[in-house]
C-alpha cells in the first residue's frame, strides 16, 4: 500500500528544459571543419576517473544537506533494484532476466561500476536519449501537431547523434539552424510548431534554456523578471523562417515541406505595431551576431559556453531523468529567481558537463556512480523532503518505458522503421488520457484500461502469451516458472513471503482449472502491479 500511495503521489517526469548556452564566436554549424571536429569527438572515451570524482562530490553535497537536516539515509538498493533502475533510466527498458540473475550472482565488489560502464556504453542509451528529446521537442499526439513519419525522422536524427555521442551543444545548435525537409534534417521541430515565432520561442526557451516563457507572451512574467519584450525579442529570431508550403499545410501528415530562412520578416508586440528586434534573453552574453541568419545567431548565443543556462538546463534535465526530480524544480522553470535544492552541486555539475564538452554519457556516468543514485526507494527518514534525496524517488515509467517493458514481456522485436509499434501506441493512448502522451500515469482509467485492454490481454492469456509459452520449457518446474516470471516482469526473484502466498496456488490445488490458470493470473497481477509501472 505504501507503494500504491507513492504511485499516486509522485509527480510525473516532466522532461522539459530550461537553460542558456554558448559557443565560440566563430562557431559555424555544419561546416567541414565542424564535421571533422565532431568526428574526433566521436572517439571520445569517457573519462571515468573524472566521473568518479564528480560522483564523490555529488555524495558530499547531498550528505552535507542530510546531516544538516539530521536525516538518515536509506540503505543501498538491492542488486535487483539497481539493475532495473539503471536499465530503465539509461536505456529505457527492463534488463533481460538473465542479465538480472547474472548481476545478482556476480560477486565482484566493483560490479556496480562495471554495470554502469557497460550500460552507459550501450547503444540503447542513444535510443533512450532520442526518445526523451523527441518527446520534448514535438508532441506525441500525431493527429494534432505532427505526423508520425516526421516525428520518427526527428527521432532518428537525434538517435544518430546521440549514438555518435556528439556534443550536446552541437546537437542543439544543428537542430536550431535546420533547413530543408524532414527527410534528412530535424525540421519537424519547426513544422510541428507551424513555424510560428511565438511557439518556437516558447519551446526553445523551455527545452534548451529551462525557462517557461509562455506567461511573458501576453504580459510581463508575474513571478520572474521576464518582460513581454523579452519574449518577443526571442521570437524575433524565428520571424524570418519560411516554408515552401502554405501555412495550413504545415501540420498535414506526410506533408514533407522544406523550410528555409527568407531574410525578411519581423514580429511585433501583440495588438501593437511595435517591431521587436531579436535580442538574447539575458544580457552580459555576447551574441556575436555578425553575419548569418537570425537562427544561426540564436544558436550561437544559446549554445555559447558563456551561457550558463544552457549547461545548467541540460544538467538539471539529466539529473531529473535519473533522480526523479531536478535540482531545480520544475525543470522547465529555471528562471533567474529559481533556487536549486543544492546550489553548489547544481553549479559544479553544470561545470562538469561543460568541461566534458557537453558529453551526456559522461554526465550520466557521474550521477549513476554516486551513492545517492544507488539508494533504495525504501528506508531512510520518514517524510523527508524528497529534494534532499535521503531516499531514491520511485519514478513512474514514461509511456515509452512502459511500451518497451510491455514489448519485452510480449517477447517480440522492436518494430523496424516505419512500422507502427502497437505497444507504443497503447502507452501513448494511456498517457494522452491525462493530457500528455509522453507520460504514463497510474490513474483509475489507466488501471482499468491496462487490466482489460484486449492488447494487454494478449500478454497474459494462456493461448497467446509468448512469455507463458516460454515458461512451459520442460526444465522449469512450477517454482521455476514463478521465479522467471518475476524476473521477466519486475526483474527480481520472488520474495519468500510471495512464494509462501503463492505456494497453495501453484502446486497444491485440487482444482485442475486453478492449476492451469495460475500462470495467467500471476502474470496479470505482476503486469498490473504498481511495481511494474515504476522505476525502483
Amino acid at each position: 500500500m505504501t507503494r500504491q500511495s507513492r504511485w499516486n503521489r509522485v509527480l510525473f517526469l516532466r522532461l522539459v528544459v530550461v537553460g542558456l548556452v554558448i559557443l565560440p564566436a566563430d562557431h559555424t554549424f555544419g561546416s567541414d571543419e565542424e564535421k571533422n571536429i565532431a568526428k574526433d569527438q566521436n572517439s571520445r572515451i569517457v573519462e571515468k576517473s573524472a566521473a568518479i570524482e564528480m560522483a564523490k562530490r555529488i555524495d558530499s553535497f547531498v550528505d552535507t544537506r542530510l546531516s544538516e537536516a539530521a536525516l538518515s539515509k536509506a540503505p543501498n538498493a538491492t542488486d535487483a533494484e539497481f539493475i532495473r533502475r539503471i536499465y530503465l533510466d539509461v536505456t529505457g527498458t527492463n534488463p533481460e532476466p538473465s542479465a538480472v540473475v547474472e548481476y545478482i550472482q556476480d560477486t565482484d565488489l566493483n560490479k556496480r561500476s562495471k554495470l554502469i560502464s557497460s550500460v552507459v556504453a550501450s547503444p540503447a542509451v542513444a535510443t533512450r536519449l532520442a526518445d526523451v528529446w523527441t518527446d520534448l521537442l514535438v508532441a506525441e499526439d500525431p493527429g494534432q501537431e505532427i505526423g508520425m513519419p516526421a516525428r520518427e525522422s526527428l527521432r532518428r536524427w537525434l538517435y544518430r547523434r546521440f549514438q555518435e555521442n556528439q556534443r550536446y551543444d552541437r546537437i542543439a545548435g544543428d537542430l536550431l539552424i535546420a533547413t530543408g525537409s524532414a527527410l534528412d534534417e530535424p525540421t519537424a521541430f519547426f513544422t510541428s510548431l507551424e513555424l510560428k515565432p511565438e511557439k518556437l520561442a516558447e519551446k526553445t526557451s523551455r527545452v534548451f534554456l529551462g525557462i517557461a516563457l509562455d506567461c511573458a507572451q501576453c504580459h510581463d512574467h508575474p513571478f520572474d523578471s521576464w518582460k513581454q519584450s523579452d519574449f518577443w525579442a526571442l521570437a524575433a529570431y524565428f520571424a524570418q523562417l519560411k516554408s515552401n508550403a502554405g501555412e495550413g499545410a504545415l501540420n498535414q501528415p506526410m506533408n514533407n515541406v522544406s523550410i528555409f530562412d527568407s531574410g525578411t520578416g519581423e514580429v511585433t508586440l501583440p495588438e501593437k505595431d511595435t517591431v521587436i528586434a531579436p535580442r538574447p534573453l539575458i544580457t552580459g552574453v555576447e551574441s556575436s551576431l555578425g553575419t548569418g541568419s537570425r537562427r544561426q545567431q540564436l544558436a550561437i548565443w544559446i549554445t555559447s559556453k558563456q551561457n550558463q543556462m544552457f549547461s545548467r538546463a541540460a544538467t538539471n534535465r539529466i539529473w531529473s531523468m535519473l533522480m526523479g526530480r531536478g535540482l531545480i524544480e520544475p525543470v522547465d522553470e529555471m528562471g533567474i529567481k529559481a533556487e536549486a535544492s543544492h546550489p553548489q552541486l547544481m553549479d559544479e555539475l553544470a561545470l562538469f558537463f561543460k568541461a566534458s564538452d557537453f558529453d551526456i554519457r559522461q554526465l550520466i556516468t557521474a550521477i549513476t556512480l554516486s551513492e545517492t543514485y544507488a539508494r533504495s526507494t525504501r528506508g531512510g527518514a520518514d517524510n523527508a523532503d524528497p529534494s534532499l534525496y535521503a531516499t531514491m524517488i520511485a519514478k513512474p515509467l514514461t509511456a515509452r518505458q512502459i511500451a518497451n517493458c510491455l514489448r519485452q514481456v510480449a517477447r517480440v522485436p522492436v518494430p523496424v522503421a516505419n512500422q507502427i509499434d502497437p505497444w507504443q501506441q497503447l502507452a501513448s493512448e494511456l498517457g494522452a488520457m491525462r493530457g500528455d502522451a509522453s507520460e504514463f500515469t497510474g490513474g483509475v482509467i489507466q488501471s482499468l484500461r491496462t487490466q482489460h485492454d484486449p492488447k494487454m490481454e494478449q500478454l497474459w492469456e494462456t493461448s497467446s502469451s509468448r512469455l507463458l509459452h516460454a515458461l512451459n520449457a520442460p526444465f522449469l518446474d512450477s517454482s521455476g516458472k514463478v521465479r522467471w516470471m518475476y524476473l521477466a516482469t519486475v526483474c527480481r526473484p520472488p520474495s519468500d513471503d510471495e512464494l509462501r502466498i503463492l505456494s497453495p496456488l501453484i502446486g497444491q490445488s485440487s482444482d485442475e482449472s486453478k492449476v492451469a490458470e495460475w500462470p495467467r493470473d500471476l502474470l496479470w497481477a505482476l503486469l498490473n502491479s504498481s511495481e511494474f509501472a515504476m522505476t525502483p
Binding site: 522503421a417 507502427i420 509468448r466 520442460p474 521455476g480
Partner: protein
C-alpha cells in the same frame, strides 16, 4: 588449407516453410597472410616441413600424396550423409575453427568422383559437382544432398507412401475423399502445399482427383493427387556468382568504420570504441545495422543476368558429367587468354595442376582440363536433412536415433578420431531459417524472419484495413483497397518482393493480389535446393553478425569487441583487416510447404501443462528477437539448463539442439535457485 571436416548439419527449425542452411568454409585461417588460400595453406605447410627441399621435389610429393588419396577406399561412413549426422556430435565453435592446427592438414581421403557417383547412383543422395573459379585457381565442390538418409527422389516416394498410409486409417473403402483433403497429414513436408484452405478448393480437388467419382480414394488416385506438386528433378539450383571478397579486405566498410585513425589496424582504443562506431552504420535509423547498409548496392537482377550470360568468368560452373568439354572450355577461358593454362595462372593450385598435367609439360590444354570433371573434390558438402515427421512417434524416434548416432560416434575408437583429424577441410556450419515464398513462378527469398514477419504484417488484410481506416491520414495511404508499390516500399524494402506482389504489374498491390500471394501453396511446383555461394564482400560484417541474420543487432554491436578479439592473436595488441579468415558462404534453401505445417502436426508433449504447446513452442517463444535462435540473454532459465541444451557450446541454442536436449538426459526438470 584447412583441415578438418565439420558438418554439424541437421534440421534446425522444422516448423519453417523453408529450411535454410549456411555453411561457411573457412578457407584461410586467421593469422595467415592475404595471399594464403585453400590450397596454399597445405602447400605452405609442406614447405615449412621440408624447407631444404627444392620446389620440384615438393610438388612431386604433393601430387603423389593427392593421387594416393584418390586411390584410397572411402568408407560409407566417412562419405555419406549419415556420417555427417554423426559428426554433428563433435561440432566446434568458431574459436575452434580458427585454432586449427596446420599439422593436421596434409591429406584427407575425400571421396573420388567414381565413388561419389556410384553412391549417388545407388540412391544414397542427390549429387552435384561444381567448380568454383576462384582467382587463385579452381576449387572443386561436391554436394551430397540427402533427406532422411535418402536422395530426394526416394524420400519423396517414401513420403508419398507414408502419407498415403496415414491418410487411410482403415481401408480405402471406408475412407472418403473429404476425409483425405481434410487430413492434417497433408501438412507433412513437401505435401503441405496440397492441403486446401477453403471449401471451394476441397470441391475442386475432389472433382479433379476422384477419377472414378465414387467418393473414395484409390491408391492411384492418391498418387496422382500427392504427385501434383512435386518432382525430383534438378533439385540443386545455383543462384549467384561473382560476389567474392576483394583481396583488399582493408576496404571493408565495417573495418574502415571501426578503424578510427584509418591506419589499417585496430588497436585497443579502437576496439573499445568499435560498438559506438559500428552503430553509425545504421543509415536508416532503425537501430539495426543491416547487411544492405554495409554492402554496395546490388546489381539490378536483369542487368546481373545479362552480364552473367555474357561473362564466362562466372564464379561457379556446374560440371556436367555428360559434357566435359563445356566444363573444360569454361575453365580454360576463365584462366587464360591463350589455349593453355600455366602454373602461374593457378598460383594456389599446384596440386590440382600437377594432377591434371598428364604429360608434365607445364601447361594444361583443353584436353587435359576435361579430366577436371573426375578430379578429387576439394570439398564435399554433405547436406543431410531429417525429414519432417508426421506423427507423434516419429519425432520421438528421430530424436532417439539422433542420440543413438551421437553415442555411436562417441563410442568409436581412437583410430577414427585420427582419421577425422586428417580431414582436409573443416566446415563451420550453422543452420538458419531462410524464408522463402513463391509468388507466381518466382521464388522470393525473404532475408530473415524479421523481414518475413514484417511482410506478413503488411500483407495481413485485417491489419491493412486498420491502417486504411485509422491511419490513412498519417501514412498517406489512399483509403482504397490497394496500395501503391511505392507506398509499400517504406515497409517492404525488398523490391523483388514488391514486384512479385504486383501480379498484374499495375504498380498497385490490391487485396486480391495479397490474398493470391499468401495463398501461394498450390503454386509450388517442385521442391528444390537453392545455393548461393558468396565470399562476403564485407567479411567483417559477416564475422560480427553472430546469428547470421544479415543484421547487426544491438546485442551484436555491443559484443563486437569480444567477437573481434577472437580473431586477434593472444600476443598481439592490434589486428589488421587481413587477419580475418576468408570465408566461403553457402546458403542452402529447401522449400517445403506452408509455415503451419509443423505446427499442425507437432505432437503435444505430456510434460507440458499446455496441451496445445508443441515441443518447440517454448523455444520459439523464448526467441524474443525471432531470429530462430535463443541466446543466453533471451533464455529463461538457469545457466546450467542453457549449457545442457547448448550441445555445441556456441552460446546459441538452435531448434535442433533443443530437439536433442529434450530427448537426452542433459536437462533437469528443476530450475535451480541462486
Amino acid at each position: 588449407m584447412l583441415c578438418m571436416l565439420k558438418m554439424p548439419i541437421s534440421i534446425k527449425s522444422v516448423d519453417a516453410v523453408c529450411l535454410g542452411i549456411i555453411i561457411v568454409a573457412v578457407l584461410t585461417a586467421p593469422g595467415c597472410n592475404k595471399s594464403s588460400n585453400p590450397a596454399s595453406l597445405a602447400q605452405s605447410i609442406a614447405e615449412k616441413n621440408s624447407a631444404d627441399e627444392n620446389a620440384a621435389v615438393k610438388r612431386t610429393e604433393q601430387i603423389t600424396a593427392i593421387k594416393s588419396d584418390v586411390e584410397k577406399p572411402v568408407s560409407d561412413e566417412s562419405a555419406g550423409p549419415l556420417a555427417m549426422q554423426a559428426s554433428s556430435s563433435d561440432q566446434v565453435n568458431s574459436d575452434q575453427v580458427n585454432s586449427v592446427e596446420a599439422s593436421s592438414v596434409t591429406t584427407f581421403p575425400l571421396p573420388s568422383y567414381e565413388e561419389m557417383k556410384e553412391q549417388a547412383d545407388a540412391g544414397k543422395w542427390t549429387w552435384r559437382r561444381y567448380v568454383l573459379l576462384a582467382d587463385s585457381g579452381p576449387i572443386l565442390l561436391d554436394f551430397q544432398i540427402a533427406i532422411g538418409g535418402q536422395c530426394l527422389a526416394k524420400q519423396v516416394e517414401d513420403n508419398k507412401n507414408r502419407v498415403i498410409a496415414g491418410l487411410i486409417p482403415d481401408s480405402l473403402e471406408s475412407t472418403t475423399w473429404a476425409q483425405v483433403v481434410d487430413s492434417p497429414r497433408l501438412s507433412q513436408s513437401v505435401f503441405s502445399n496440397l492441403r486446401p484452405t477453403d471449401d471451394q478448393q476441397k470441391k475442386d480437388i475432389i472433382k479433379r482427383y476422384d477419377i472414378d467419382g465414387n467418393g473414395h480414394p484409390s491408391v492411384n488416385e492418391l498418387y496422382s493427387y500427392l504427385s501434383r506438386g512435386i518432382s525430383g528433378r534438378n533439385v540443386v539450383i545455383f543462384d549467384e556468382a561473382n560476389r567474392f571478397r576483394s583481396e583488399n579486405s582493408d576496404q571493408s566498410s565495417v573495418f574502415v568504420q571501426m578503424d578510427a585513425d584509418q591506419d589499417g589496424i585496430l588497436d585497443d582504443g579502437e576496439l573499445a570504441q568499435c560498438s559506438v562506431r559500428l552503430a553509425k552504420l545504421d543509415l536508416n535509423g532503425d537501430f539495426i545495422v543491416s547487411g544492405s547498409e554495409v554492402r554496395p548496392p546490388e546489381m539490378d537482377p536483369q542487368a546481373f543476368m545479362r552480364q552473367r550470360n555474357q561473362n564466362v568468368d562466372d564464379a561457379f560452373i556446374f560440371m556436367n558429367p555428360e559434357d566435359e568439354r563445356a566444363t573444360a572450355t569454361s575453365v580454360l577461358r576463365r584462366y587464360s587468354f591463350s589455349n593453355a593454362i600455366v602454373l602461374d595462372d593457378w598460383p594456389q593450385r599446384a596440386d590440382l595442376f600437377g594432377l591434371l598435367d598428364s604429360d608434365q609439360d607445364g601447361e594444361l590444354v583443353a584436353r587435359e582440363l576435361r579430366r577436371i570433371i573426375a578430379a578429387p573434390s576439394d570439398m564435399v558438402f554433405q547436406l543431410a536433412m531429417p525429414e519432417i515427421h508426421s506423427s507423434d512417434a516419429t519425432l520421438e524416434n528421430a530424436s532417439q536415433q539422433s542420440t543413438d548416432d551421437a553415442e555411436k560416434k562417441r563410442g568409436e575408437n581412437d583410430g577414427e578420431k585420427a582419421a577425422a583429424s586428417k580431414v582436409r577441410f573443416r566446415y563451420h556450419a550453422r543452420m538458419l531459417n531462410q524464408w522463402s515464398t513463391v509468388l507466381g513462378n518466382q521464388v522470393i527469398d525473404l532475408p530473415n524472419v524479421r523481414f518475413r514477419a514484417q511482410l506478413l504484417d503488411t500483407l495481413d488484410q485485417e491489419n491493412l484495413r486498420i491502417r486504411t481506416e485509422q491511419q490513412a491520414s498519417q501514412l498517406g495511404i489512399t483509403p482504397t483497397h490497394s496500395r501503391d508499390v511505392e507506398d509499400m516500399s517504406g515497409a517492404i524494402q525488398n523490391q523483388a518482393t514488391l514486384a512479385g506482389l504486383d501480379f498484374d504489374d499495375d504498380k498497385k498491390v490490391t487485396y486480391e493480389e495479397i490474398e493470391k500471394a499468401v495463398s501461394w501453396k498450390a503454386q509450388l511446383t517442385e521442391p528444390f535446393v537453392r545455393i548461393r555461394a558468396v565470399d562476403p564482400p564485407d567479411a567483417w560484417f559477416v564475422w560480427l553478425d553472430a546469428n547470421w541474420d544479415d543484421l547487426l543487432s544491438e546485442q551484436e554491436i555491443a559484443n563486437a569487441p569480444r567477437r573481434i578479439a577472437q580473431v586477434r592473436k593472444s600476443d598481439e595488441t592490434t589486428l589488421s583487416a587481413s587477419l580475418l579468415p576468408m570465408q566461403l558462404q553457402l546458403v542452402f534453401t529447401r522449400t517445403f510447404g506452408d509455415e503451419q505445417a509443423f505446427q499442425r502436426l507437432t505432437p503435444s508433449t505430456p510434460d507440458q501443462p499446455n496441451p496445445n504447446a508443441s515441443a518447440l513452442d517454448w523455444f520459439q517463444a523464448m526467441d524474443a528477437n525471432m531470429d530462430g535462435n535463443v541466446t543466453l540473454r533471451e533464455f529463461l532459465g538457469d545457466i546450467s539448463s542453457f549449457e545442457a541444451l547448448d550441445i555445441n557450446h556456441d552460446r546459441i541454442l538452435t531448434a535442433n539442439e533443443i530437439g536433442s536436449g529434450i530427448s537426452g538426459t542433459g536437462v533437469q526438470q528443476a530450475d535451480q535457485r541462486d
